[in-house]
Amino acid sequence: MSARRTKLEIIHDILRAIQEKNGKIKPTHLLYKSNLSYQKMKQSLEELVEKQMVREEKNKHGAYILITEQGLKFLQEYRRMKAFTESFGLT
C-alpha cells in the first residue's frame, strides 16, 4: 500500500497532470488523473487558484483548468527539491 500523500505531493500531482495535458485539462479528467476525491480536489484547486498556480477558463466546450507560470515554477522547484532529497537519502 502506498503511503498517504503529503499536501505538497498532492499539489505536485495536480500540476503535473495539467502540465502533461499541455497545460490545459478538464476538471473531470483532472479528478481522474489526480486520484483525489471531488471534495479534496475542489479544495486543492481553490488553494492553487488563490496562489496563482492555476486559473480557470470557460468556453463553449466547457470548463478548463490551466497551469500558470507560477505553477510551472513550482513544478521545477519541486523536482529540484526531490532530487536534493533523494541524493541525500532523505526520503
Binding site: L8, A83, S87, L90
Partner: protein, 218 residues
C-alpha cells in the same frame, strides 16, 4: 605549550582558502535545506540545515584563527601572551565542538534517534571529549571519523538503493570527508598529511557543490 599549527609553512593560507570555499558550500547547503524545511515543514531538512550551518560556523572560526596565527592580521589582538594563547585555544575548542555538532546533526539523518535527550547526552559527551581530553586533536579527529563512517554508510546505502549519479556524488563526497579525518589523525607521523587532509576535505565539499549545481541545472 599547546600546538595550534599543523600545516607545513608552505601551505599557510592555502588551507584557509580551501576552507573558505568549503564554508561557502556549507552555507549554501544549509540555506537550501532550510528553504525546503520552510516549504515542507519536515524536520529532517531542519536537521540537515543545522548540520551544515554548524560546519559553516566551525570553518569560519578555524579560518579566522589560522589567518591570525599565520599572518598576524590583527597586530594588537592582546598585549598579553597568555591571553593570546587562551583566545587561540578557546577558538580551536569552539571550532572542534561546532564541527562535531554539525556531524551529530548529519548523524541524526543517517541514524534516527527519536529521543531528543539522547542527542543532548551525546552533545555533552562531545563537549567533554573536546574540552577535557589530554589529546584533544586526536580525540576530535577520531570522533569525527567515527561519525563520518556511519554517515558515509548511510549515503553508500542510499547510493546502492537509488543508483543515481547524484546519490553517487554525495556518497563519494562523504567518503572524501571521512578520508580527510584519517589523514588528520596521522598528522603526528608527518605534517604533510595535513595537506592531504585539507585537499581531501576540500574536494569532499566541492563534490557537494557539484551535486547542488547539477540539481539546479535540471
Amino acid at each position: 605549550m599547546a600546538t595550534f599549527v599543523f600545516s607545513p609553512p608552505w601551505f599557510w593560507g592555502f588551507d584557509a582558502l580551501f576552507e573558505f570555499v568549503s564554508l561557502i558550500i556549507a552555507l549554501v547547503l544549509a540555506y537550501y535545506s532550510h528553504r525546503i524545511f520552510r516549504v515542507t515543514e519536515q524536520k529532517k531538512y531542519k536537521i540537515m540545515a543545522y548540520g551544515f550551518f554548524f560546519f559553516f560556523l566551525a570553518l569560519f572560526i578555524k579560518i579566522a584563527i589560522n589567518l591570525q596565527i599565520y599572518f598576524h592580521i590583527i597586530s594588537s589582538l592582546t598585549s598579553s601572551f597568555p591571553l593570546t594563547l587562551f583566545l587561540y585555544a578557546a577558538g580551536y575548542f569552539l571550532h572542534r565542538f561546532l564541527f562535531l555538532l554539525g556531524l551529530l546533526y548529519l548523524f541524526n539523518i543517517a541514524v534516527n534517534i527519536p529521543d531528543r535527550r539522547a542527542n543532548i547526552v551525546i552533545a555533552v559527551l562531545l563537549f567533554v571529549a573536546t574540552f577535557f581530553s589530554n589529546n584533544v586533536f586526536l580525540i576530535f579527529h577520531f570522533v569525527a571519523a567515527l561519525f563520518l563512517i556511519i554517515i558515509f554508510w548511510h549515503f553508500m546505502h542510499n547510493c546502492q538503493e537509488k543508483k543515481t549519479p547524484a546519490s553517487e556524488i554525495v556518497a563519494l563526497s562523504f567518503f572524501l570527508l571521512l578520508l580527510s579525518q584519517f589523514f588528520f589523525l596521522f598528522i603526528p607521523v608527518t605534517n604533510q598529511l595535513y595537506v592531504l587532509g585539507e585537499v581531501s576535505q576540500f574536494f569532499g565539499f566541492l563534490l557537494l557543490l557539484l551535486n547542488h549545481v547539477v540539481i539546479f541545472k535540471k
